[in-house]
Symmetry: C2
Subunit: 349 residues, 2 copies
């Protein structure tokens, strides 16, 4: 019998790390030792994983020695510095940050889409896509396998936890402030009520939607919008795919939603799309508006699959489908996909 590999969770004390420890405790246990690693200021804390209190150790060369698979759940600059160190110590790295996603020497992998790509890793690193791409890609990929996608126009409605725990705290604080204020219908009422409590966002998120996330990239596009395009092209191996994405932050704590208009090379029918989505791994079809069945972020939060509903064929284009998908940005959008990739690598041992 093959030995059970050693796993390191780097960034165990963060928001995604907390979800990862839950996930590792819930899924089939393929791991020998699980080592929890974080910044020096979190070292010594004890966190539960697989029912055992485990002491967090500080990120260091020593902490990465003797590790078979290292999950990196840290900001991109930390991953860029330390992932190569882990590789040099013999580990395979699965990175959840943006540091390596578009690196030609690093596969970008979603197990439901391109599972075999995980084995082609010349740099010893496998990357997991961003949470907004992950909210839609399993659904789009399943339809692509049948109809061949040609163009995507998407509007992503992003939860505040996509900006980290500080995003969650900002929305909670803002909601308390607007609740205590008798808001009129004048411009700036919400801004006045929340004062300097914008948190990580460029405008109020309470009682508002904000058409901006990431940094300014090129020609007015944000980094997050271009990332959705680049990651989708790489995941589907369609380097010329036409993608227009608009990111909008919405007052939702966790779970991203995406309004998708997908055009295909072949004609589509709702019936066939339903059949595909109903039988695709990682997808739940929830599409009966008359019965109140369509996904919403508050209903899907905490669950693993991508939920899809509102499946319609475009009235004026027999090759296009409109869909609405929701997925938990901390689970499949981050921790779960990373854990699935680590498990795929564990099967090599």
């Amino acid at each position: 019998m093959s030995r059970k590999p050693t796993l390191a969770v780097v960034g165990a004390t963060g928001a995604v790390g907390a979800v990862m420890l839950q996930i590792l405790s819930q899924r089939a246990d393929v791991w020998g030792e699980i080592r929890l690693v974080a910044s020096p200021r979190s070292a010594g804390r004890k966190l539960a994983v697989r029912g055992e209190e485990t002491e967090v150790v500080a990120l260091s060369e020593a902490a990465l020695t003797g590790v078979d698979v290292a999950l990196f759940l840290v900001p991109a600059p930390v991953a860029a510095e330390w992932a190569p160190v882990a590789v040099s110590k013999g580990a395979v790295v699965v990175d959840n940050s943006a540091a390596f996603r578009l690196d030609p020497g690093v596969p970008l992998v979603v197990p439901e889409i391109n599972p075999h790509a995980v084995r082609l890793r010349p740099r010893g690193i496998v990357a997991s896509p961003g949470c907004t791409t992950l909210a839609m890609i399993v659904t789009v990929g399943a339809l692509h396998a049948e109809f061949c996608v040609d163009e995507l126009v998407v509007s992503a409605l992003q939860a505040v936890s996509g900006a980290g725990q500080c995003g969650v705290e900002a929305l909670r604080t803002q909601l308390a402030l607007v609740a205590d204020t008798e808001l009129g219908t004048g411009p700036g009422d919400v801004r006045r009520a929340i004062g300097d409590g914008l948190g990580p966002f460029p405008a109020p998120t309470a009682l508002n939607v904000v058409p901006w996330s990431g940094e300014l990239a090129e020609d007015g596009w944000s980094s997050e919008e271009l990332a959705i395009r680049a990651e989708t092209r790489k995941l589907l191996d369609l380097p010329e795919l036409r993608v227009s994405a608009t990111c909008v932050r919405v007052p939702v704590l966790t779970s991203h939603s995406v309004s998708v208009h997908a055009r295909f090379e072949h004609e589509v029918t709702v019936e066939r799309a339903h059949d595909i989505l109903a039988t695709s791994p990682g997808v739940v079809l929830f599409d009966d508006p008359e019965a109140g069945e369509f996904p919403t972020p508050a209903d899907v939060v905490g669950t693993d699959p991508t939920w899809v509903g509102r499946v319609r064929r475009a009235m004026d284009d027999p090759r296009a489908l409109d869909l609405f998908v929701c997925g938990d940005n901390l689970r499949k959008g981050a921790a779960l996909n990373t854990a699935q990739l680590a498990e795929a690598i564990a099967r090599e041992f």
Copy 2:
């Protein structure tokens, strides 16, 4: 000098009626008598318009006699019944409901788009479009005049006041309930917190977005989504225009936002689009993300124009623009457009 016509405001005590009385008090005064009309249970109330307390009278044939222009700000069934009565008494009707919008004998008019259509009214009725169409049409129409629009893919983020005052009350109640609850990250947490307080919506609106508004129409499309398509085609006089619209209710009190992907017959540039939008009546261009300038509903509420930002040329299609527009659904989206139409008719007297 021509005489000043008599105006009746039918539905003066509703949410749109309240905004209409403000607007009539703020704009150039072209009216003689302004008569306030509402349901019998509101008769006798006094409301301020043009600085004068004015008694509300009950809707009746007598209340519509001697009226030159009648604004209908009432539900579609009431408008369907009473607008023809007003016409039979000699009034021109401007209707804000959906009752006549798609009637071939009734012009659908936005003054910035098709002002001359207001004079061609064989039934004596002029219709104002729905609030979601109005949130985007002035912007799209201005760009169409230069580039010739070919296809629209839009995701509309609709404020709760689009569902009436009951929508506003439901969101306020729900926000208070979720504020008092320590919400976890489990599915259904928000539903449990708000209990049976859904109001007019099929799912929670607090801490959520809901991809549904209107009724089920055909092939999975909602009535509101198909209305955006039909109204846009009629307003732009493009009966074959391809339109895919998805409506999503968001936890915003007032002002609709629309994420627009517009494809044109001609190539576009952001520079030329900026020039057009910066000089179009009824439009404010607010587009400098680096300086934090993009429209949000909380910032534009209470203002008259359509605000537009995030103007980008599609990375993969030189004929397509992506935009984000916001407009107050109670002002331009309802009361203001109706008032503008009434003023255009008043100029005939």
